[in-house]
């Protein structure tokens, strides 16, 4: 019994150590973002040790003045719209595929799962042509449409699994009580599916928030750029020696804040959502 307690203690200590190692790059990002540029770019070894009097928020002021707020606003609009549509559409589709069985529902389910495997880079070229034809290039709507579509295969798959795990007797009871099919779906099935819904909402939000490839191809003017492409075109340089790391790290910290908040406050649904995809019921 004593040995077991000892093992538990070793596990606890080592898991904290691992956590610090894994998170070190993020800690370093935050630390670097508060430093003065001149001190950071000196090769003097003393300068890597944290010193409080070097604390400065000037780089934050700089990035906020140089368009960060616009990128932030665009990202918020994009991520929230994507989340809303992805949740609504994947609930409807997941429900139709599991409960309203119709001819071809199996094959449609398979096709949706297959689209998950298609490399996004493969879609980029023709998608660019489609978006141009629709007149949506260089608009946030074009990007939002794309993000919704790429969030759907996984979200539908997850909701389908979730609906399968709910006993059909629940809606049957509602139907006997005189509810319509749609009424039973909205009033009985959806409230029971909240854990699944919150998982796909988080997933869709983060997908849109962090997406770089499509944003870089579809958005060309600063007015409509989202954070990933906005930060990279505004605050990075292709020349190694002219890279302003402090400003870049400040922009990176600002753009990561919503994700960090989501992860701290909604951790329960994230962990269960991740497992739902993989753990057999």
């Amino acid at each position: 019994m004593k040995a077991k307690v000892k093992i538990e203690r070793i596990k606890k200590i080592s898991s904290i150590v691992v956590l610090i190692v894994i998170l070190f790059p993020l800690i370093w990002m935050i630390y670097s973002s508060f430093r003065g540029q001149s001190k950071l770019i000196s090769q003097d070894i003393k300068n890597i040790i944290p010193v409080l009097d070097e604390f400065s928020i000037s780089s934050y002021k700089y990035v906020l003045e140089k368009g960060m707020l616009t990128f932030f606003k665009n990202s918020i609009i994009s991520a929230c719209t994507v989340t809303l549509f992805s949740v609504v559409i994947s609930c409807m589709t997941g429900y139709a595929l599991t409960r309203l069985k119709f001819r071809g529902s199996r094959i449609i389910g398979r096709i949706i799962l297959f689209t998950y495997m298609i490399p996004p880079i493969l879609i980029v070229i023709p998608l660019f042509i489609v978006i141009v034809k629709l007149g949506l290039n260089n608009t946030l709507s074009g990007l939002i449409l794309t993000h919704i579509t790429f969030a759907l295969p996984f979200s539908i798959w997850l909701m389908r699994g979730f609906f399968l795990s709910l006993p059909p007797a629940i809606e049957e009871a509602a139907l006997i009580d005189g509810a319509s099919l749609f009424g039973a779906f909205v009033k009985v099935v959806l409230p029971l599916s909240l854990p699944g819904i919150s998982s796909i909402a988080i997933f869709s939000f983060i997908l849109s928030w962090n997406e770089y490839l499509f944003a870089s191809i579809l958005l060309t003017s600063n007015r409509v750029k989202t954070l990933p492409i906005g930060i990279i075109t505004t605050f990075t340089s292709d020349y190694m020696y002219s890279q302003d790391w402090v400003r870049l790290m400040s922009a990176a910290v600002l753009s990561s804040i919503p994700v960090l908040i989501i992860f701290i406050f909604l951790q329960r649904s994230i962990v269960s959502g991740l497992s739902a995809g993989a753990v057999k019921e």
Partner: protein, 293 residues
């Protein structure tokens, strides 16, 4: 009743069908078609049919073969290393402690932040002269001059693999941990009540259940790593001298820097073919071992 069911299912399923059809399925087939054409993305009127010349061109090109090899090396080495480390960490995290939930969500952070953020943090940390990593190495006297982690042809691929392991590790760990927890609690106790010994417990309970988890983690990670564009692109742009050039980067460069959409699409089609063959073989092999999806 049946009629209303049909109407509702059509209503429910059509938005997804339309949008997936428009944004994924139609471009997908369009892409296969233009891979047989000489295509300029900005001048579609000038396209003409050239058969399999795009494919032949790619398979004769050194860049493409190099990119294919690089992609396979990057995908499989980072997936396998990740799964091994993730298993060790998952066993460590599988313990009752205060603040377990918060530890887990903190642990997921590197996975949650954008690949663009991660790429630039890593480039900063491993910067030749001012990066913390090189500074620490020289502080302790391991090296005299900074090591060019991402800019030397010899080290670049190793560094990129390391970065990919770090970024993907949290996800793999948390999923494997979820598997461990399903196994560890009720079922093992039930098997003990039924008189199973440790070996039987592992062979008939832990292994089959974790086997499924490992299969899912492996397949999904391989698909993601194989298709992953932005992380490598922002870390190295495929350089130095194409040492970290991967297939997605090759597609991007061919389509948007050289404007040869036909050749780019052909590379994309080859990528998808590889993935489909991999998933098919993997599912076949693992289902003969008594597992099924």
């Amino acid at each position: 009743m049946r009629k209303s069911r049909t109407i509702l299912s059509i209503l429910f399923i059509s938005p997804a069908i339309i949008i997936i059809g428009l944004i994924i399925i139609y471009p997908f087939f369009y892409n296969i078609v233009i891979s047989f054409f000489n295509t300029d993305i900005f001048e579609p009127a000038n396209n003409y049919f050239i058969g399999i010349k795009n494919y032949l061109y790619n398979f004769k090109s050194e860049s493409f073969i190099g990119a294919l090899v690089n992609t396979l090396i990057l995908t499989f080495s980072s997936t396998i290393i990740q799964i091994i480390i993730a298993t060790i960490i998952a066993i460590m995290l599988n313990v009752n402690m205060k603040g377990r939930g918060i530890v887990r969500s903190m642990y997921l952070m590197p996975w949650a932040i954008g690949a663009y953020v991660a790429a630039y943090i890593i480039r900063w940390m491993f910067d030749l002269n001012f990066g913390i990593f090189n500074q620490l190495l020289s502080l302790f006297g391991f090296v005299e001059k900074g090591i060019p982690w991402f800019t030397s042809p010899k080290l670049a691929m190793l560094s990129v693999i390391g970065a990919h392991v770090w970024k993907g590790l949290p996800w793999s760990t948390i999923v494997i941990l979820a598997g461990l927890q399903v196994v560890s609690n009720d079922i093992i106790e039930a098997s003990r009540v039924d008189g199973a010994n440790h070996w039987q417990e592992f062979r008939y309970i832990v292994f089959p259940m974790l086997g499924y988890i490992y299969m899912v983690v492996f397949i999904l990670r391989v698909i993601w790593e194989f298709n992953w564009f932005d992380f490598v692109w922002l870390l190295t742009r495929g350089g130095p001298s194409e040492r970290t050039l991967t297939l997605p980067i090759q597609v991007y460069k061919t389509a948007f820097l050289i404007h040869d959409a036909g050749k780019a699409s052909a590379i994309g089609v080859v990528m998808l073919t590889f993935l489909i063959i991999f998933v098919f073989i993997f599912l076949k092999v693992s289902s003969t071992e008594g597992e099924s999806l």
